[in-house]
Amino acid sequence: MHDIIAFLPGVIIAVVGLIALLMEAYKKSADQIYGLTIAGILAALGVAIAALFGDSGTAFTGMIVYGGVASFGAVVILLGSLFSVVVSRDYLMEIDLHRGDVYSMILLSIVGMLALASANDLISFFLGLETMSICLYVIAGLIKDKKTGAEAALKYFLLGAFATGFLLYGIALIYGATGHTNLTEIAAVAEPTLMFMGGSALLLVGIFFKIGAVPFHMWTPDVYQGTPTTLTAFMATAAKSATFVAFVLIMSRMLPESDTDIWTNVIQVVAILTMVVGNLIALAQDNVKRMLAYSSIAHAGYLLVGLAAGTPEGFTGVLYYLFAYTVMNVGAFSVIAYYERNKGLDFTEIESYAGLGFKFPLMGVLLSIFLFSLVGIPPFVGFVGKYYVFAAAINAGLIPLAIIGVLASAASAYYYLRVMVYLFFKDSHKEYSLKPASLLFSSAVVLMAALTLYYGIEPVLPFSGLIELISSYYSL
């Protein structure tokens, strides 16, 4: 297979991103660029889905992998991006950011994510991660006229650059210990020497920072709050999925057997911390956007449970969970963005949601679906994802971890359901009149809800196939 075809989704997105830039330079309307962006992502998504069923291997002299996990990662990333971009138009228009360069920024960051999610070399891992991060720093600072936006960007940037230092040192030490940067070549020669372990530890610190795991989560709430809501969804899903897929690739390809245990222990501790702290602080939040930020920290914890298992089953669970998390989280953020669009940027306090469910029932019901799914209640995809992740942990013998995870997710029911209580069972103190959502927006959100429902019941359907597809990548 030709190298470019192996990375075709990324190439398409990169080309579209550059064309979008040129169109912006020649003063084409933002709507044209918006349309082009969606078309590009759709095209890339089509290619990535086709590649799901193709063969897998390495390309660009071993720098990246294609097919299998990488393709699935690409699908999840592109799906998250697609939905985030589709729902962005109305919201960004409201805050005067419906502009071509914003969309090209998003596209360029997707290129980074795709490279990250197919990295087979520490160099391409590092570059993918940095391309993504640098774009995200900018996206975090888009609302620069308000203090929150600029401060979020500054905080994200300084901590992110700091973390990059650790990450790079980790890569340097691993390179020093093994003399290679290619994941599989490292795995072939790696011995658990002090230097290799030190490098791994620093690399883990960097990765934990980027996924917002608990000792390194300080940036998450502020950044998620300061970013335009639909783009928060983008950051919380696509970016996180990319990092997790890269994490899966590193764990499954780079680590020699003897080292997996040590990593697993570290990840277990971090997973427990992340789930507990994320959920506990989320309980105390009165701001829905901030609450979702902490909930996304908690979800990173659930994902880490699957990684802690360190088995093919665990990795499968993580990948499935990423898909589930992407669909439901973008959905939830979209509805919040819809409310915000009507009432101004600060309209995220939970008090103000009182009675909104009946004003525009469709959105209220959809938000409830997404929140139910985020809790992990059975007929929704969130439950299936959690089931696979925790089952993998139990099968790997990590029963305490799984129990803590289940308890934490039970606790999370409180703050998710609280939003619904406000939506439907509290009387609104003011007369709100909501603008109707645009057709594109509604259909995107309805589609996400349909996916949430469909994949929630898919495992019991006779023709279910997603989980088999993912697990087939590891049975080879």
Partner: protein, 100 residues
């Protein structure tokens, strides 16, 4: 000839100085410069390892890390300018939201 460990030790010292600088300074620009120092220390290690292995990958990685540092500098300084417009200060303790 000096052993490779001396180069690594120098790199570790510089990296640590960078970390301490990030932690004690309050001026966002200086913090950022300390991060650059850290990246530089890492580059030094990479080149030492590259010399030690007689392998070129380390030097290639340094080249990319230089590009990343340049990109980060551009974006970072733009963010610092944006925050200065809002706050008229680059002191991170005056950035209200920042709770380290």
């Amino acid at each position: 000839m000096i052993g490779i460990d001396w180069y690594l030790a120098l790199s570790a010292i510089l990296f640590t100085i960078g970390i301490i600088g990030v932690l004690i300074r309050r001026n966002a620009i200086v913090i950022f410069m300390c991060v650059e120092l850290m990246l530089n220390a890492v580059n030094l290690s990479l080149i030492s390892f590259s010399a030690y292995h007689g392998d070129i990958a380390g030097q290639i990685l340094v080249f990319f890390s230089l590009s990343v540092a340049a990109a980060e500098a551009v974006v970072g300084l733009a963010i610092i300018i944006a925050i200065f417009r809002n706050n008229l200060s680059v002191d991170i303790t005056k950035v209200n939201l920042l709770r380290w």
